[in-house]
């Protein structure tokens, strides 16, 4: 009965308390999580994603593993255990806390330097060089949108695009406690599934990896390369 479903590994990173576990629960179970405790180590969850290749009607189910790594400072020596062989990154920051967005740079640096085998030094020049070499598809998500008073909303949302711009990634702003923010058909859900498509393509369908389904010659269409999309979601809270 066991259908061999192929898998990709996506890391969910961010500071402690930004809402990574709630986000992963919302994505995988489709409903908001009631209570949340601090993540010790790593919470993993899976989402079955149907990938349709460009130009073919053929759909294949992939299993996206979301590794939600606990962000507390006390355990910072041991995070890198979970970072090996990741195929995609989801960077989570808290819209009510500006510092959590700035710390995303540090997280990204840690993951990339682990891949390159170097020790992360945390200097700005190093960041630029490291980011430009970034081959992993990335998505930046801002949480706790409901906590911002309406008067600050515009300013906060425009500020949240800066890190995403640096990493040349797409971004979403939402509230993990409301199901409708990731309901099927919304812009958020579309962006999320586009991100998963990117990750799967990178892993299985590019020229570097072994050929699958005869797509060895296929290049990724230009629309799928990483361009900075200025659209961001302004879901009004009721």
């Amino acid at each position: 009965m066991a259908v061999p479903v192929e898998k990709v590994k996506v890391l969910v990173l961010g500071d402690s308390g930004v809402g990574k576990s709630s986000l992963v629960h919302l994505i995988c179970q489709g409903e908001a999580m009631g209570n949340s405790a601090w993540t010790i180590g790593c919470n993993v969850d899976v989402k079955l994603h149907d990938y349709r290749e460009e130009g073919t009607p053929h759909e294949k189910t992939f299993c996206v593993e979301l590794w939600d790594v606990g962000g507390s400072i006390n355990h910072s020596l041991s995070h890198s255990v979970f970072f090996n062989s990741a195929h995609g990154l989801v960077l989570v920051h808290d819209l009510t806390n500006r510092k959590s967005q700035e710390n995303l740079r540090r997280w990204l640096g840690e993951v990339l330097s682990r891949d390159a085998g170097k020790k992360y030094s945390g200097e700005p020049d190093y960041d630029e060089e490291v980011f430009s070499e970034n081959q992993l598809p990335a998505l930046v998500i801002g949480t706790k949108m409901d906590r911002i008073p309406d008067s600050n909303l515009e300013e906060v949302l425009s500020r949240s695009s800066s890190v995403a711009g640096q990493c040349r990634a797409d971004f979403i702003n939402l509230d993990c406690m409301q199901n409708k923010h990731l309901a099927a058909g919304t812009t958020n859900a579309v962006k999320l599934s586009r991100f998963f498509d990117k990750v799967i393509e990178r892993r299985y369908y590019t020229q570097d990896s072994r050929g699958r389904l005869g797509s060895q010659e296929r290049r990724r269409p230009p629309s799928m390369t990483r361009t900075f999309s200025p659209t961001f979601v302004q879901e009004k809270i009721d």
């Binding site: 259908v3 479903v5 898998k7 500071d15 402690s16 308390g17 930004v18 995988c28 601090w38 010790i40 180590g41 790593c42 919470n43 993993v44 969850d45 899976v46 989402k47 079955l48 299993c63 593993e65 590794w67 400072i73 006390n74 355990h75 020596l77 041991s78 255990v81 979970f82 808290d94 009510t96 806390n97 500006r98 510092k99 959590s100 710390n103």
Partner: protein, 465 residues
């Protein structure tokens, strides 16, 4: 005229301390959080500045800087300001932030309700604070209700308890952390095998979750597919129940397995963290700084044992030290070794040095401990409350250290503290410190011993055989 000059000097130094507290708050404590309420930062910096002023006045007392009457005036001013902030300002703000974080208050969204609740909580705090004075023999009956002694005595009790707890734990933990003797031997293969076990556990969890997700999807598709054919009535219901139950049970069983495995993965991760920390410590101990701290660790362990012994003696024999260590040291040198020197001159300089070192180490120690605790327990919701609690603890701690420091100074310098703090039963505080110190040190020894025995490598050894 000189009073004006003295006040200017005092206010300049206070502004300097305020700036330091402000920057410390911004750079160290709130490193990862955005500051939404400036008032929290302000209150913290003000409390820090007032505490440092107290210490500064003691140093001025010893050195003889500034006019005596202006020193006295500034002491009084500073103490009143500290008491106001510790008893009124800080508890009020703490109550305000706690109340505004409560969920049912957030849903109601009414400002006046928040203010009234805050006042209520603050009154409760005042009641308990007042009652604190009853079981302890700290006051004589001749003091009025609003005198400075009422406030200081109660603040002193809380502060001395905190000091003794921290001292006790610190005295035991310090040699344990510094000395190489206690380092557990950890090899790279230990760490790698632990990491491998952890990752294998993750793989198993993932496989099971994948099966759950596939099973759920199948039931969803089956239900959707048979939705049109679903017959109403008894037979249809029975059929639905029987057809969906095998997959349902399967999912439940898998979910239970997953929960157990997740618990296991958390424990494995904590062991890996512990091993990483041990490896860091071993690497650090090979450096020059590490070796230096290792030697210091031996001295500290001697000091710790002596302190425990002395506290026990004090309690058992009901002994209260009358002379301070400086005068006694000088006495010993003069009487037994026969060396003659200018007692007054040397006692002033040595007390300046000793008291200065005590002050600097206690401020630095408290700030470092506070930062560590803050990183461990704060989250974005509770950061304001916790930092205000720390400001309160800091104020109480520093007032009590002034109280206890009195015993370390020669007679002529004790006068100002006795004059300003009023007629308190100082001996009680020293006895109370000894008791709590003893309790804290002994329980820390027990706790560390148990933790040391539970080392992960020992587990691995047992598993191998």
């Amino acid at each position: 005229m000189s009073f004006l000059v003295d006040s200017c000097i005092m206010f300049t130094t206070q502004a300097f301390f305020f700036g330091f507290g402000w920057i410390f708050f911004m750079r160290q404590l709130f490193k990862d959080y955005e500051i939404h309420h400036r008032v929290v930062q302000l209150t913290f910096a003000v409390t820090f500045a007032l505490s440092c002023t107290m210490f500064e006045l003691i140093i001025f007392e010893i050195v003889g800087f500034l006019n005596s009457s202006s020193r006295y005036f500034h002491w009084k001013l500073d103490l009143y300001a500290m008491l106001f902030s510790l008893i009124f300002l800080l508890p009020f703000y703490i109550a305000y932030f706690i109340v505004s974080n409560l969920r049912f208050v957030q849903s109601l969204q009414r400002r006046r309700l928040i203010v009234w609740l805050t006042v209520g909580v603050w009154l409760t705090f005042m009641y308990f604070f007042w009652k604190l004075g009853d079981p302890f023999p700290i006051l004589s009956a001749k003091h009025g209700i609003f005198s400075i002694e009422q406030g200081i005595s109660r603040v002193g009790v809380i502060g001395v308890t905190l000091m003794a707890l921290l001292s006790g734990f610190g005295a035991v933990n310090c040699p344990y952390t510094y000395m190489e003797y206690f380092l557990r031997h950890v090899t790279d293969t230990d760490i790698q095998s632990h990491e491998r076990r952890l990752l294998q556990n993750m793989e198993i969890i993932l496989t099971k979750k994948k099966r759950i997700a596939l099973a759920k999807r199948e039931t969803r598709q089956a239900q959707a597919g048979s939705g049109t054919q679903r017959s109403a009535g008894i037979w249809g219901m029975l059929k639905n129940v029987t057809t969906s139950s095998p997959a349902g049970e399967n999912v439940r069983q898998l979910q239970q397995d997953v929960d157990a495995l997740e618990e296991l993965s958390r424990q494995l991760f904590l062991e890996v963290v512990d091993l990483h920390e041990q490896r860091e410590r071993i690497a650090y101990s090979k450096t020059l700084k590490g070796k230096y701290f290792n030697i210091m660790g031996y001295f500290f362990s001697l000091y710790c044992m002596w302190k425990i012994f002395i506290s026990t003696v004090n309690i058992v024999f009901d002994r209260v030290g009358k002379t301070d260590p400086i005068t006694r040291g000088i006495e010993i040198v003069v009487v037994y070794f026969g060396i003659q020197f200018d007692v007054k001159f040397w006692s002033q300089h040595i007390s300046f040095l000793l008291v200065g070192i005590l002050i600097v180490t206690s401020i630095r120690g408290l700030l470092i401990t506070m930062t560590k605790f803050f990183y461990a327990i704060a989250s974005s919701k509770s950061s304001n409350i916790i930092v205000l609690l720390f400001a309160e603890i800091m104020g109480m701690y520093f007032i009590s250290s002034v109280l206890l420091m009195r015993m370390n100074m020669p007679e002529e310098y004790r006068l100002i503290i006795t004059e300003v703090l009023g007629d308190l039963q100082f001996n009680f505080y020293h006895r109370w410190f000894d008791v709590i110190f003893l309790v804290s040190a002994l329980s820390s020894i027990g706790f560390l011993y148990l933790a040391h025995k539970q080392a992960p490598e020992k587990h691995m050894m047992q598993n191998m055989y």
